[in-house]
Symmetry: C2
Subunit: 123 residues, 2 copies
């Protein structure tokens, strides 16, 4: 059985390659995808693969960080669509080498609140 | 030397308790804090402790998920200020049992884009 880090790497590489057959091999039949920001949930492998396959835009991704241990993992992924860049941070849970839980967040740029300029630099 | 998961747990428990002396023990002198959404950076233990100590609001936190292995960790933390709830997702890097890199994101609620209602339920 492949290790958690390998499975999550396969998941992301397959998504980037639009290789939905390989992508599906990383998922349990009853995988649940949760998006806390919109309070959306998708249940089941076929709906979740379809959701990814139908996701609009010529996005490409690069895994920046991956922390995986036991049956859990977290990844930080940069997405690019042309000049636009987005961050996706995802937590995974696996059972028997298949992903059963995907929970992710999509943070947006915002202006820093005032009052901390004495501690902070911009980059 | 304490394990990465213990150190990050101490970091969060101390922050929740406003115990800045204990909080500081988890940090390397040259810790760097990075906020990609605002492109802000804070360098050094004393500035970073001050930033946290001065952070406004009577926030309380609950660690929902923690994935830690080797010198890396990722945490998902729910913050509450009164009735308001926020998510903070943080990646850590450690050297010799001290946190040297804290990078976090603060995702906000948003309305789901149209076109995926056939796959999604709301919760």
């Amino acid at each position: 059985m492949a290790k958690t880090a390998e499975i999550v790497t396969t998941y992301w590489n397959a998504a980037d390659a639009r290789d939905w057959d390989t992508f599906a091999t990383t998922l349990a039949d009853d995988v649940v995808y949760t998006l806390p920001q919109t309070r959306e949930r998708i249940r089941g492998k076929s709906a979740y693969v379809q959701f990814n396959a139908e996701y609009p835009g010529a996005w490409r991704l690069t895994v920046q960080r991956l922390v995986a241990v036991g049956d859990e993992a977290a990844s930080w992924v940069d997405f690019r669509v042309g000049d636009e860049q987005m961050i996706g941070v995802t937590f995974f849970r696996l059972v028997d080498g298949k992903i059963v839980d995907v929970t992710d967040v999509w943070p947006e740029p915002y202006e820093p609140p005032p009052g901390r300029e004495h501690l902070v630099e911009r980059y």
